[in-house]
Symmetry: D4
Subunit: 252 residues, 8 copies
């Protein structure tokens, strides 16, 4: 059944093509499935343009599989993040043709209607400061790709050898959005935001030791950047950065 | 003198229309003015699409006035944030036709070539949770407007009376970007990001008391939001949110 | 106009006694007044049983006065917290018969329909550990009284001389709710919660020095109490404790 | 032997039906059993209305079993929290008819005189924001039920899809107390406390990652809520919330 | 009336020389005076060997004067800490022969029965690291002296010039207790505790800047000392250190 | 060779019974043994009255055994803390007649000249708030006993059932020093210090969960106690508390 | 009298050209002057190569003047930091020919024997990120100059316009040491340390707002730098950085 | 191909011995090798005087081996830190003649052109406070030695037995740089910096427990040292301290 706007719904009640009870039920029934242990938010695709994503941390494999199947039932793309090797093993056994990215800890099964976005403003450039930031960069890459936008990944271009970054100035200048990922002192997003004119999203990572405070140092460094056009997401949140980047990279 | 790209510059050296010494000088000389106490970055307008903004906190009024005059000399728009009443008094005396927004602590003097942007994807909606967030919201409003984008401000629509927000759902749905400003527990950006499909920028404010930690609580709450599409800027950073919002709201 | 439930409203739309447009307007129009700088939530009295309270910190006296008048216009009780001596001065000049409690930093003007609650389960006992906790205790007292519940205040009964507390065991045993206020190490609520069988609300205060962390130490001490039946509010939040105490002390 | 009040005891001394030595002994002997490694507080049921609860974290299974048996000996209900699978295994072997809730990490053995409370003001609603908050919600459920009050649990109704919460508005409106459990940004209790008129207890959980600070972020968010009627307990403290909720939900 | 032990009191009830009501009254009436804004704990001298000390921070001068007079009335020594110049001015006007130490922010009026202790194990040495620690050292000195113990003060003997400390090794070796006061990195107590065999009390001070965290750094440094025999009090708590030092320096 | 004071040494140099080279050597050679991986401080017994204690955390069993043997070689008592079960196993195999306390994680081998102290002012009372504080209390007990002082241990007397503490008031009143051990909110030392007149040493423990901050909460609570005569040691530092207690309990 | 090494002193005792008493006195008497409120460490010039510096924060002007005069008496250079305008006023009145740097909050009076160092390895480059870092940069400049080393200051070369820094690559390449001063995100020292081969000292400043934590963010960013050769001093510690830089810049 | 300076390169373009395309390529191609997962910075040896060091934490053994081989290919010395036993095992199998220091967690393979530096100002003294600081001290030792400077290591000379340090005063006085390593309260660097005239680098270690905050306490203590000439590196960063020490110890 087609999702109606509030106005449409009120009008169909007014015209008595829909009873008050039906209206109440539709408002509730359409919008989520109660699996007992979870309420899957199918209304999200309508509101946000992309279905609810499965955050696998602390979830059991059977629960994840049930949610994936529920998405498939609704003919929605299923996409999961923070999956473990155990999750991958059980998912591959249970769901035919599911695809995974182990470094990025993601899996997905595209709906039949999945297609590349025709509204991408430009390429989304994902730049990471060091080789240890790889998992976060790959999580971001998977998210951008499943949402249908073009992306390019530049690994290991941190400020200790800043010429490595400058070698990719062209990619940076033509980007629609840049996702800049860094642990340690977190200086990379500041330097990039000082160079480009598109929005930059900083992703601090928990890579480091000693007074690194598990990523709080690069997080705060990015929030206090002297460069403009930089916004920040949570530590290690490659998914969140990519999701926001896609929204920013979407022409109306 | 026109700003050349690195390739252009190397080519003009190769063709000997530019000597190595001139090339070196151009690389340096074009890009900033040394006022002694400051190096004004005129290259920024080329790189970022908007000139260097004057952050007035801890600067003396004479220093600010000198920087404003330097911008005027370069026919650039001058825009200042975090100005105090004392700054305003001296600026108005020294710079004819300067404009100010006292609540937002901003001033500006548009260049002759200033014009509304023709590349705005949509309206930028600025929503604030409480009346005490006003200064931050006004700083954001001034920044959006001086950068030539359309905006609308919704004051006092916090989650303690969530129906006040829902009354403006139409504005939210048609926004190009939403800037959501909140102190206290900082829940407003999460709720908005759960409703809209455009990017949302959260701005935590230092409004609160007790364990509020001068804005760290809403900052962390926003970074840990369960809603997608939300990125965050520093506490009270209305300017930074607006600057990033304009970049996001710009069609290529 | 009377506030309708969602079902009632849908039914009146269905029966065509109310048009969709009217329904939409009612949902929005009834619930708040837009004063420009603020949206006064008149729906709150319906939802919560007590009107929106005016938190005066960072508000100008004219704004506060406008909000008070708006409450008077709606025939609601006006109650304000965290008022300064300047606020008091201007309020007394502008609003006839307004009442104040200077130590508690509160003012109020009761509506004509104000009356003592007939649903109070027992007395609300407010116990404070030291003489410096007085402002918080008085804020709590004013809040309880304006909400129509009986209360008694015990000042200076902290654990360094625990016999002072035991002298009031009868009051404690017959309480409906106890509000226990303490700075320093914050041990008083734990000791009280170990003695009584009614709910205890701990209020940490910012009284102390050195490693006191502006009240974070008693806050954390109360949250980690080994005694049962204790819940906690923010540092110095006498109002919040009292508001919650009244809800707890209300028989259905 | 029956527990006497201090006045009663003094009177029986005065009337010489009780010697000073007996009086001293009664004061001490009645009130706890010294098991060597622990002093079980049997006086607590008299003071608080419910016997001492066994917090199993860091306790060995044999110690726990000894305490359970001591409760059985005193014909008191035994109730334990934070039990591990190893604890469960040994308890089930040692104590006939003991009951467990694995997800909630609780066990109990009711006394013969256990009965449903006839003083419950209303239903206690336990609402949790996400599927990962399940263990805390179940701990709260077990605690409410063993204390004889009615409860209902709503899983996975967090603010990222706020319509899932609004679907249960009737349950919320008729609650005696609401326990609102949330990790991440901890916004759920604020939103609920903005809607209902009964007391709300916020329980932050340690679910999250990055700058989540192991639950400190939702803890602080709840303490700084702009909504009234909300009090807070320690991170993951489902038991403490439930215990306090029962006290609040008890008519005199 | 003489203070009775619990056993004595029970016996006099048993022998009917004291009624239950009188017994209850004695337990309560003897122990404190209710001044309205404060409950002065006169029982403390009995329990602790020294009367309640007046902590003047945040107290008004009239309140302090009332408490001093109450002590005089009870023929107890009055001793106040953290007094301001304003307090001193009003106290000197109101209380004849009151004595003050301005640097130490203390005042006192000895009772007629005041005398030097005849139970001091040795001299109490007060060593401070820098000239800025003077107020804390003087507060400690006043406290030791009013409690009747001998003391010597060594200013400015910090570890940056460790030979200054070693010049006083004799004083250190013959001390009964050493109070070691230091801001900055707080190393002095560790070095002293590595040298002497009596107890050492570390007092961190709030002297410093930058990452000094208002005294938290020396506090933590002292708590983590690798030297034995060192215990610690709160930041700037010269009084608390001295009070504890006197207890330690008292032979049974 | 006998340990000389600096003065003695200078005099023997002056009288030429000792050459400068010998003097230098003596200053160095007497005071520690260089085991390669460690410099065992045998001078400590001279300075502090008790030999260097072996802190086993992060040390290998062979290293510990070498140090123990070195102490035996110097006819000193060997005493080790924070030993693991693996340490115990290898120590028992390598050192005949070594004694251990597993709960307290300690071992010792008394020197032949070990004897009970004849300078103890009173009994050292060790009071712990909960059963989980046992390891810290046992570490304290072992330390007191190896140093030759009398002690008594009271387990599980925390403030949630404060009558359990009051039952031992006699022990508390006759103590030379009290060591009060508590996790959670850390209120026990404050309550005890409000009752007794001897020095009290607070030991915070890392027992707790949620916002307990691994013992920082009781640590700060104890530092901010409103009771006098209380000093504090590091979290879980039963050894340090006991060592300081023995110094305090020693009559000159 | 000439300062003797320990060996020299022991030899002159041995040869009886110096008595033990004289030796003891020399060890103590030479090394500091006791001004009552301070012990001026004149031995420091011998040990460290530069006399004790006067840290003026929290010192009274008369105390500072006394210390300056004591230095003059010992024919040492007097140098003070963190002086206030009030200090300057009284110093200029009391000490003829004293020199001051107001922006740097320093004053000095060179001894007659003051001369430029002939052991400087290179120029000390002081680079600051923004105009607000001026006071710290000037404090560093004064310190370097009074210690006799050459220096050059580059203001306002932060990473938001990184070409401003690259314009001074020659100065950076020829430096003996670089002092890099930055607030906000503190990225400048990392970028410089990635470019040069001499030691770099990072100085975080307290310039910033919001989550800047008064300089803790740039401090931690510098400590976690991915670039090698970078060491760090305390927040705003221009003096400490300069002092260390001079030591590093000194050829043997 | 030889590395050209920017000026040289521009001149060869001007003289048309190098095309613009070649110039661009040289700028990029010379400076790093793209291994796919990493960009090895071979330009670093030119800029910094020592090639990029391999930080092994979180890297797989095959990746490390590839980077080592890449260094060998470029005839550079390979040096790795934070290697695990697993890394060592695979490295020794894959790379002939690789050398390791297990305690220091380092490995290296010198290039053929490796030689001792002829520019060392003095010996680098590495002093550690306790036996648990060994891994950090050994990491520093390996780094100094691979960079060709002389060093000496003093283990276990902390301030609890300060005479152990004084025994090595000669080594300290003749040092070119001192690296002072300490956990616990971190006092050792302060004491050393008070004694010597060369630069001192403090290295806090994560050795400790309770309120040690994983090394934050000694880190802050060192940053707040009252002694001059001390700079600090990150917690446990033996490599960073040694690298900086070598730069400081290098005569021009």
């Amino acid at each position: 059944m087609e999702q109606l706007s509030m106005e449409k719904l009120l009008e169909s009640v007014y015209s008595q093509t829909c009873s008050p009870a039906q209206a109440l039920q539709q408002l509730q029934g359409l919008s989520f499935d109660n699996l007992g242990f979870a309420r899957v938010d199918h209304h999200r695709a309508v509101r946000k343009g992309f279905p609810e994503v499965i955050f696998c941390q602390n979830k059991s494999a059977p629960h994840i599989i049930d949610i994936v199947k529920n998405h498939i039932l609704h003919k929605e793309t299923a996409f999961g993040t923070r999956a473990t090797p155990e999750h991958f093993k059980e998912l591959c056994a249970a769901i035919p043709d599911i695809q995974i990215n182990e470094a990025g800890r993601c899996f997905w099964k595209k709906s039949e209607s999945w297609k590349l976005s025709d509204k991408a403003k430009g390429t989304i450039v994902i730049a990471s400061a060091g080789t240890s930031d790889l998992p976060v960069a790959e999580e971001a890459r998977c998210t951008v790709e499943i949402m249908g936008h073009p992306c390019v990944v530049l690994h290991d271009v941190g400020v200790a050898g800043i010429h490595r970054l400058f070698a990719y100035k062209e990619e940076l200048n033509s980007a629609g959005v840049v996702i800049a990922i860094a642990g340690m002192e977190g200086a990379l997003p500041s330097v990039i935001a000082g160079l480009v004119r598109c929005p930059v999203i900083g992703v601090p990572t928990s890579v480091g030791y000693g007074s690194h405070l598990k990523g709080m140092v690069p997080l705060f460094a990015m929030l206090n950047s002297c460069a403009s056009g930089l916004t920040v997401v949570n530590i290690d949140n490659g998914f969140g950065a990519a999701y926001a980047a896609v929204l920013m990279n979407t022409t109306k």
